[in-house]
Structure formats: structure tokens, C-alpha cells
Symmetry: C2
Subunit: 470 residues, 2 copies
């Protein structure tokens, strides 16, 4: 299929969907098309043909078979919290939304797993685990609306990757419907299974371009004990890295985040939260660990004092209650929402941790030199080399001009990413937003092989066409 738009008359497609799902679960009203036709990126105008709301694996399979038969494109839709346009339907596609496949079943306390429909919301899974005395560790700002299927399709990361990894690490089994309409049950919850290629891994992070994730066996772990946060003020970025290295070598950290004074100022002004301490510092590090016992706390204090003596840390504060922990985290977690009023141009880039200081400094020099009027808000996950570069729109520029100028900067940023062997999309995925830049992170051979792999699973190109690559 050369184009995402179907040649089959619209009515025939809707009739086919109605026959599978019943009219109540095939939506064509304008409101639904607008809502289900996009994610948190607002750059594209939604224009889906219809919204399909299946309730079972069989129904999903029937829809995919119909797509192959009638030659229409499918866009999978989870919680629509994506930031790269992976779930945007702007070309007459049928959106398959998993909102009704939101059951959690077959919990096993020994295996510590449960089977989730693709539409289970991240927070729902977190609460479910909690009710069983367990823990689902993948967490990020959109956990209240993102869905497990979408998390898996984008291999969602977040704020605790340093300790608990990405979504990939918690998928013990995966039921998918391939682009050609075959149902595969991949790995079936096994912890050890070296019987042939691990196709499950291919579907994780494929952004729905190979098939639809319909169910997943998710792994839980024991809950962390008495999580404790330290927020430390630091003079310069080298100090952050020294800090990271010192703590990481001595303690088991659950998070190591950073943000700039500018980010803090905006969050404090917006939220009314107190500053962590009086003295303003250019950068802040947020460390978190499990206070397993008094020894661990004492060790953290000793390390903190060492870092002060070394001159790396100017001031610091440690949480001593759950409320303090939450408030310290809000200083970091509220940044994204706070700066949304400035229509930020977001970048989600990574390199290996050791190269972060040079990388950050090169990017900052570039942006400062090219556009001295742009305000830059840095934050991110030092513990895994993932930086979020946010460029705020000056009031003097209209949105279109601003984004066009940022697009120019992006090429320079991605040149630096390429020079540092980094990623143009650390955790947000490629979708529509980054596909023109994929070549900065992946070789031409790799991209060619990816397209051939897609051909294997989705020979007629019905699955999320135009995402990741054309």
C-alpha cells in the first residue's frame, strides 16, 4: 500500500467494522475523531476515518484482517499521551483504541505476574500491584492516563529507569496481532526461554508498526522500603557528574535526576512549593534511595558531607517523611506541566552517561549562539544519560516562526547527538516527530533492515504507516 489513505469506499469500511464490533463501538462523530485521532503532540490535525473499540483479541484480529482485505490503515491508540505523534491519525486511518480492553486477570502471587489488556492504565496497574503487596516500578508524569499497550509499544521509561529499567524489562509475555492478522503469544510469562528468536523484544518499542499489542503479562517486584530523596544544589555540571559517580559507587540509588535553577524558579512560582533550601544554585540533583535501615541513612549523610567538602555541593536537604519526599519530587516532576504555558519545543536526547557534560555544554553553546533570546530549560535523568532540552517560546515570536526556528536548531542538536553517538529519541519514540532525524542515530543499513522486518510482520503495510520511517 503506497498511501495511508484507503481506496475502498468509506462506507464499506465502516460497514465492515460495524459487522465486527456493532455500531456502538465504531465511532465516527467529530468529537471522537478529534479525541482519538491524536496524542499529546498537537502539531497534526486529526483526520481518522473511524474509531474502533474492540473488547477482545478476536475482535482485534478481525479488524486487522478486514484492514488487509479492504486496504485501510490502522493507527493503534492507547492513552494518547505520546510526545512524538506515534498515535496520530491524520490520513483517514481507522484508529483502534484499547480503552475497553482494560481488565487485569490471572494474578499469581508466586510468579508475581498478571495478564493485562492493552488498555489497562499505568496507574491502575500500579494500584493493582500495591493491593497485592507488590510494586510495578515504571513511572512517569502521564501514568494517570497512559495505557500499558502504549507503554510497551513505546518502551516507556521515566524517572526510575536507573534502578528498575524500562517497560521492556517488565513484559514477561505479549499477545500481539501482527499486521497480517496472526495472533502470536510471545514468551507466555516465562523467565527463561531460549527457544528461538525472542520476537517479543521486536514488538516492544516498535510503536505499533509491526502489529497490535493486545495483552501483556506484566511482572511485579517487591515494593521499595522507605524511599528517601536528597535534593542537592550544585555549582556546575561537572559537580553533578562527580556527585553521581560518588553516590552510585557506594549506594543503590533508585533515581538520579537533575534540573536547572531556571526550571526550579518556574516550578516554585507556579506551584507555590517551597524552595528546597534558601541558597539558589545553578543546578540541582535529586537522588533517591531506599532507607533500608539507619546505616543506609548514615551512609547517605556521610557521602553528602564528603561532597560538600569536595566543593561539589553547595547545600542540600533530605526527606524525612512521605510528604517531604513527594514535595521534593514535585520540584522535578512538575517542570513539564509548568513550562507548557511557554509552548516549549521539546527534545528527548541521550548519550552514554560519561559524555553527558560535554554533550550538554555543546548543545547549550549551540542554542545560546544561534538564538540568544530563547530561554532553555534543562532537566532529565542523569542516571541513564537522558536529557530533556526544552526551548521556551519568547512572547515576541508567534508559534509557527518559533517552531520553524527550533526545527533549524534541531538539526544542529542532532548533529551533536550523532557526534556523541547518542539517541535522537531516548524514551519518547520516533513517531512522526523524529522520523526525519532517525538517520542521526541509526545507520542507513539499520533503517533498511527495519523496513524489511516490518515487511515480514506487516506485508500489506496496514499497521501505523508513516510512523518511525516512510
Amino acid at each position: 500500500m503506497s498511501s495511508a489513505a484507503s481506496q475502498t469506499p468509506r462506507d464499506e469500511i465502516i460497514e465492515g467494522l460495524n459487522a465486527i464490533l456493532g455500531e456502538g463501538r465504531v465511532r465516527v462523530d467529530e468529537d471522537s475523531l478529534q479525541t482519538f485521532g491524536r496524542d499529546w503532540t498537537k502539531a497534526w490535525q486529526p483526520a481518522p476515518l473511524a474509531i474502533a473499540l474492540p473488547k477482545s483479541v478476536d475482535e482485534v484480529q478481525a479488524v486487522v484482517k478486514l484492514a488487509n482485505q479492504l486496504n485501510f490503515a490502522i493507527v493503534p491508540s492507547g492513552g494518547r499521551t505520546g510526545l512524538s505523534g506515534g498515535a496520530v491519525a491524520a490520513n483517514g486511518e481507522v484508529v483502534v483504541a484499547f480503552d475497553l480492553m482494560n481488565q487485569i486477570r490471572d494474578f499469581d502471587p508466586i510468579d508475581r505476574t498478571a495478564v493485562c489488556g492493552a488498555g489497562v492504565i499505568t496507574e491502575q496497574l500500579q494500584h493493582f500491584a500495591e493491593e497485592q503487596g507488590l510494586f510495578y516500578p515504571v513511572d512517569f508524569a502521564s501514568a494517570g492516563s497512559s495505557q500499558i499497550g502504549g507503554n510497551i509499544a513505546t518502551n516507556a521509561g521515566g524517572i526510575k529507569v536507573l534502578r528498575w529499567g524500562m517497560t521492556r524489562d517488565w513484559v514477561a509475555g505479549l499477545t500481539v496481532v501482527t499486521g497480517s492478522g496472526e495472533v502470536l503469544e510471545l514468551n507466555r510469562g516465562l523467565l527463561k526461554n531460549n527457544a528461538g528468536y525472542d520476537l517479543r523484544q521486536l514488538f516492544i518499542g516498535a510503536e505499533g508498526t509491526l502489529g497490535l499489542i493486545v495483552e501483556a503479562t506484566m511482572q511485579f517486584t517487591r515494593p521499595p522500603k522507605d524511599l528517601t530523596a536528597l535534593v542537592l544544589g550544585v555549582e556546575n555540571f561537572d559537580g553533578i557528574m562527580n556527585l553521581f559517580n560518588r553516590f552510585q559507587s557506594q549506594m543503590d540509588l533508585t533515581a538520579f535526576e537533575f534540573f536547572s535553577e531556571k526550571a526550579l524558579q518556574k516550578v516554585v512560582a507556579h506551584s507555590g512549593l517551597p524552595r528546597p533550601f534558601e541558597e539558589p544554585c545553578p543546578y540541582y540533583a535529586l537522588l533517591e534511595f531506599e532507607r533500608l535501615n539507619d546505616e543506609v541513612e548514615a551512609q547517605a549523610m556521610t557521602l553528602f558531607e564528603d561532597c560538600v567538602e569536595e566543593g561539589w555541593v553547595l547545600d542540600g536537604v533530605m526527606s524525612h517523611s512521605l510528604e517531604q519526599l513527594k514535595n521534593l519530587w514535585r520540584l522535578r516532576e512538575d517542570i513539564s506541566e509548568t513550562i507548557s504555558q511557554w509552548t516549549p519545543y521539546k527534545n528527548d536526547i541521550s548519550t552514554v552517561i560519561s559524555k553527558v557534560p560535554g554533550f550538554l555544554s555543546d548543545v547549550e553553546s549551540l542554542v545560546n549562539a544561534s538564538y540568544p533570546d530563547f530561554e532553555i530549560i534543562w532537566f532529565g535523568h542523569i542516571g541513564d544519560g537522558n536529557l530533556h532540552l526544552n526551548i521556551l517560546k519568547p512572547d515576541s515570536l508567534d508559534k509557527e516562526t518559533f517552531f520553524a526556528q527550533c526545527g533549524e536548531v534541531s538539526k544542529g542538536v542532532f548533529d551533536i547527538v550523532q557526534r556523541y553517538g547518542g539517541s535522537v529519541s531516548a524514551e519518547h519514540g520516533v513517531g512522526l516527530l523524529k522520523k526525519d532525524y532517525l538517520g542521526y542515530s541509526r545507520s542507513a543499513q539499520e533503517v533498511a533492515l527495519m523496513k524489511q522486518v516490518k515487511q515480514v510482520f506487516d506485508p500489506n503495510g496496514v499497521m501505523n504507516p508513516g510512523k518511525i520511517f516512510d
Copy 2:
């Protein structure tokens, strides 16, 4: 290519290899052919055409291009410790051995990574990590001779998977030469990289059927603190599971292994090691944890006492020195070597942990009923659902009859594996030994898709043909 045997005259191939590697690194003497032509399985007669010993990625690439040009098959060879015949060359293939690509370079203390040639020996990497004050956690009996490239190609597991996962979890980057001779640098050491399909995952565990692993960026972690083992005697298998559940819910275990009294008897007789305690018990569990502080030890003691009170545990012992730790581990780790004198028929099967008791009991009933004269030695990794079923050859049977009879039992065992949704190869891979049984763990559609994926990376079928599937 329909057959593994080349149509090109032997001399032309050797001439081509000599031109790339020089005569010293192309071996055709009988001794080399026998040594490099097989792994620890001894069921196949080695018959390679030649042994190639490249020293660089470029040389490997040139050999693969030559294979495509002259139409010969390549068998990758690491430490040749495989147990499924994945590295067997019995059909005139060229063995590419990585023994000379055994350098470790570019260690970074912040990233905690190093780049390894495929021929780096597991133990060499473990020692290297130790010298840096770090830890490479994947460990198993053949660590002294297995190579990193082979470990990755088979996604090696071992005795610490419960805590540290499989080899897959420690590969931050992978340089491969595909079957068509392209060099891919996959993931380049990044911790977070959602820019397109993670092709690295496909090569891990593909047993060299997609291409050759030439270099890998391996991840290290902090060393465990004061590892401590408990060996507990248990009345029956349900007791083992209760024990596992109780400890697992309260402590961070680094291992949970089990073995039977029969296994213990043989190890004690063979090694002269003392029994863990006087009273013989039907089964034994070996638990390991980090004694981070006195509290942790006290907790382990309390749990042990609880389990005695519950009637699950008959007796037990805890290590209080590194020597005691090592001796307790030897009771479990020496089993494989000890029973090798009985020419055991080995099975490496898994299911989800919760189903292990029923699974084990069904397999035991089957084997006991079919062949009451066969002695069965069970051991394995309860913490990840992986059981090693070893059937010992009675003196009365010759090897051929015994293996033929075991082959019959195998079908019954794999029927049970299938019924329990398990794996016919938990950690040893498929190779030649299990390929006829792949269908018990993977659907026909999955196998068909795997073959198409192979076609993408190895269009001329030069890479380890006949392994995993035909």
C-alpha cells in the same frame, strides 16, 4: 542455499580465506577441525572445511562476504561449551572462531561499561570487572572457557538469573556482521534509546543464525556485599515452593536453587565435601542473599525458624565465611560434572515458577512409569522456573539404546512442557539438539516468522544453517 555444503571447490575457499587472514590463521589440520568443529555435545561428528581465526571486525566482514560470494556456510565458534550443538560444524562449513578477538578496551568507570571482543572469556570479563571494583554478574559452570560472543548468541543464563537476569540484560551495545556482510553497531552502549526497532535484541539468543557477534559493550554493576548461602533440607517439593515464596516476599535473594538427595549423594561421594548437615532430606534448597548488615542476617534466621515451625524445613545451615559459601555452592554446582560419568541425558526445561511443582511431578511420573530402571537427577533454578532433568544411563544399557529410549521419553516430557506453556530450552538454546522439538514451545506462525526474519538478515543462508530450524 539449500544445503550447508558448498558447491565451490574446497581449495578456492581456502585460498580466499588465506587471502584475508594469512595462512597462519586458516587451519585445516585434523586436530583443529576436530577441536573447533563441535561444542560440549558429543553426538555429532565434526567435519568442518576449515577454521578461520579473524583478529578484527574488518576481517570477519571479509570472511562473511566471501561466504556469500563463494556460497559456503559459516559456523560461529566461541568457547564451544554449548549443550545444544549450536556450534557444531558437521557439514563442511567454515568455522569462524573468535579466540583471537579477546581484548577488553574502553572501560569507563562512570558508564561502568567496557567493549569486549567476542572471544573474551566469561571469567576474564568477571576478573576485569573485579579489578575495577565492579561486578559482571552472569555466572555458570563453564565461565572458565565460554566466550562473551557465545554467551550473547545463546543468551546464557546460569545461577544468578533471579537477581541479575540473563546475558541479554548486560549487553549495552553490539557490533554484528549480518549474514549479508553488513556491519551494524547496535545501540552503542546507550541506556535509553527508543529510536526505532531494537535490533540488538534480535541478535541476542539467535545462536549465530542472523549474523556474527564481533564486539559487545558489556555493562557492569556494583559488587554484591558479603554473599551468604543457606542450604535447607525439605520434605517435599511443595515445601520448596513455600520456602521460596516466604523468603522471596521478605528478602532480596540473589539465588534460589534446588537439588535432590540423589544429586547430593553423588556429589558428596565424588568430591569428598561434607554433607550440609547430618539428616538426609528428599530435597535441598540453596538460597543466597547479600548480608548487607546484621539486620539482614537476623531476618534470614527468623524466616528460617518460621519455615521450620511451618514444617517445611527439616534442617539447615548458613555460611559464615567465604570458604563455607563456596563449599555450599559446590554441592549444587558440582552436580553436572559429577554425573557426567553416567552419560546423562540432559533436559533444560522451564515453566512459570508457580507451575513448577505440578510440572515436576508430572514429568517424574512419566519417566518413572515409562522407565523404572532409569535414575533421575533433578536440579535447577527454582527462582526462574528452570529445571534440569538428568536421566542417568543404567550400566545394563549401551549408549545408543539408552539415548534412543530417552528420545522417546523426551517427546512425552515435551508434551508436558507444552501443556504447561513452558520452554523446551530454558537456557541452553535450540541448536541441533532441540530443533525437532521447537514446535512444542513456539507456534507454527512464530517459526515461519523467524525464518522470514532470518531471510532479512541472511538472505543467502550462509549463517549457521540448520541450527534452531531447517
